[in-house]
Amino acid sequence: MNQQTAAQIVDRARREGRSALSEYESKQVLAAYGIPVTREILVEDSGELDKATGEIGFPLVMKGCSPELAHKTEKNLVRVDLRSREEAARAFEEIRGQVSGAGGGVLVQEMVSGRRELVAGMTRDPQFGPCVMFGLGGIFTEILEDIAFRKAPLEKTDALAMMREIKGHRILGGVRGMEAADTDMLADLLIQVGQIGTDMDAVTEIDINPVIICGSRPRAVDALIALG
């Protein structure tokens, strides 16, 4: 864990007067706190694309990446399951033109497979300070609102209680031939999300959606950190 790295990323963004980190920066902050994130490379120039796709490996995902882009899917800036250099080059041209601003580029990202999508996040309550959220992820987050909160800092029992509390808690078990999710790892993830809120007052909100259970292990696939 390297809290200094995280603080530097947040400080730089604040100096630039920004209200959010890009997905790439957000993941670097999460990774600095030991949260497993997708392997990914930010490509700003088409000349670097082949090297990046070579490192990540096909099939892969490409996403528009900039601090101004909170909701990429709605803006049609996500391409999934790209299987060749040609497809990647075409996707790069389509996305790159729409991404502007400092720190903007195209994120070349490993494609994580897993059918279980969860959400983790942090909000700052006016009375109780940083609070961590856990629940069903992806599009179900808003539709079902099957979520639980706890005030940070979290103890491990709090994190485990949040997992039990959601109605869909059985999704974490070994259902339909899937491996049971590693609840210890998931608990650590939630504890660390709370820790970010406790350590850095400038971080006002965090969304990690989805957290995909890949095999048994959780991984942050998309993330947004808001600053204030």
Binding site: V119, K151, K167, E205, I206, L224, A226
Partner: protein, 498 residues
């Protein structure tokens, strides 16, 4: 650790058990809050000395009224201040100089108005308090303590029987309603505090005090807002480790109020966050005062443990189905008895129509209390059963009364049943909860309503908790289960919501 102890110089003994009280703002005409408090203290039987103060002097019911606080010849423990808002700071300062431990300020006209003048007056109160007098209020109904005979307004008729239940409430009306409801349900109080605007003494410190108070076993809180979220959470978590804390939070909203970027923040409104905070601290959240009083009754009367397997004994509308539905909703079971036990129970009951399984359907509302005792004692032999629920059918005795030409209270065997239930609990070691089921509540059944209240008193006097409705009783017991069951479960999988 956490900020737990109250400020060391606060003498709660002098606040809750004052030997001398000064009522500031008692009119010789006998009107207003000050005089009201004087009469209430006399009626409830407060034995200490009371000094009255009003600049106009005179007497009230033969009691001398001093023209100023300075004129009171001795010091006093507690002041009740009921003068106009603008005159409160001077009165409070005079009480402080006299050496009073605390003042309850009944007057309104402070922060609750939202005006610059109101806010400034409340700030003055806070400044004087900081110099060495604790303040309850302003804009409150005061303190009720059955042991000392201290009462809140209007509380001349509250009970003098002490019990294990403490209440602190931002709303005065809620505090008084709770005290009255508790009295009718046979629930005794240690202390009830209405703290109004909470300029000085408020939720967190009172909670910490109740946590340490040996007379308090169950703590209730009505909260609109907390002054310091961190301190409240730490204290709550600390106190709830040792005593159940039941919280009714007023004014919750589902949506986050600020403009936000993330889904997390938009879903984290006060409703979700308070729910989380209370769960995390192992406190118990209720949604209205009735649920709060019933939960208190369950905590006060039932041994400290969780109850998962019930025997339900009764009759009436769709007993089996409605009991099963209620039990499932609150994560309890009504396990069927084996055939041997079932047959032994059925031998005691009228045939046909009765059923000795579980629930036990007595079929006939006039089954004698003696037989009900025998059935309860038999059912308790099933080792799985940890609590028995007896649904009484007393309202049927209205018909018996009509035939006998006697009042219903004379023909209904509630007193004998109460004795027999008490025996059962002693013999079996398993608690019994009584349901005073009564569909006859209209104006032509006031005699039944009256008899039911007498029955409630009989059970309450014997320490048997009585509820009006099976689902309400199970809801209350579910809070007991959540509290005593919540401490041990750590595993993440396959464990349903408690």
């Amino acid at each position: 650790m956490t900020k737990y102890a109250s400020e060391p110089d606060t003498d709660f003994e002098r606040i809750f058990n004052p030997e001398k009280i000064a009522v500031i703002g008692a009119s010789s005409k006998g009107t207003g809050f000050g005089s009201g408090m004087f009469f209430a203290l006399q009626d409830i039987g407060y034995q200490g000395e009371i000094f009255l103060v009003n600049p106009k002097g005179g007497t009230l019911a033969g009691h001398k009224i001093y023209e100023s606080i300075a004129q009171i010849p001795e010091t006093f423990d507690l002041a009740v201040i009921a003068v106009t808002a603008a005159a409160v700071p001077r009165a409070l300062e005079a009480c402080r100089k006299k050496g009073a431990a605390a003042a309850e300020i009944l007057s309104s006209g402070f922060k609750e108005l939202g005006t610059a003048e109101g806010l400034a007056l409340e700030e003055q109160i806070r400044e004087i308090a900081a110099q060495g007098i604790r303040v309850i209020g302003p804009n409150c109904f005061g303190i009720y303590c059955p042991q000392s005979g201290l009462t809140m307004l209007p509380g001349a008729d509250l009970s003098r029987t002490t019990g294990p239940v403490a209440v602190c409430s931002q709303s005065g009306g809620m505090a008084v309603d709770f005290a009255n409801t508790g009295k009718s349900m046979g629930l005794g109080f240690s202390k009830v505090v209405s703290f109004g605007n909470g300029a000085d003494l408020r939720e967190t410190e009172l909670l910490a005090f109740f946590g340490q108070d040996p007379q308090t076993r169950v703590i209730n809180m009505y909260i609109e807002g907390v002054a310091d979220g961190e301190a409240f959470f730490d204290t709550l978590k600390n106190v709830a480790r040792r005593k159940p804390v039941i919280v009714l939070k007023g004014g919750l909203s589902s949506a986050g109020s600020r403009a936000v970027l993330s889904h997390t923040a938009s879903m984290g409104g006060s409703r979700a966050i308070w729910r989380a905070i209370l769960k995390q601290a192992n406190a118990l959240q209720v949604s209205d005062m009735g649920e709060m009083v019933r939960a208190s009754l369950a905590f006060a009367r039932l041994p400290a443990r969780s109850y998962k397997n019930l025997c339900v004994l009764g009759g009436g509308g769709a007993l089996g189905v409605s009991a099963a539905d209620a039990a499932e909703k609150y994560h309890m079971q009504i396990p069927p008895f084996d055939s041997g036990l079932r047959e032994r129970i059925e031998k005691l009951l009228p045939r046909p129509g009765s059923s000795g399984g579980n629930p036990v359907d007595v079929a006939n509302p006039y089954v004698a209390p003696e037989v009900l005792e025998q059935v309860l004692c038999l059912a308790a032999k099933d080792a799985r059963i940890d609590l028995q629920v007896l649904i009484t059918l007393f309202h049927h005795y209205k018909n018996t009364a009509a035939m006998a030409g006697k009042p219903v209270r004379e023909v209904t065997p509630f007193a004998e049943l109460a004795r027999r239930v008490e025996n059962t609990v002693q013999k079996t070691g398993k608690p019994v909860v009584v349901i005073l089921n009564n569909p006859k509540r209209g104006t032509d059944h006031l005699d039944v309503v009256e008899m039911m209240e007498q029955a409630r008193r009989e059970f309450a006097d014997r320490g048997i908790p009585a509820f009006d409705d099976l689902a309400e009783a199970l809801e209350a017991i579910a809070h007991v289960n959540a509290y005593y069951g919540g401490k041990t479960h750590e595993s993440a999988n396959g464990c349903p919501n408690r």
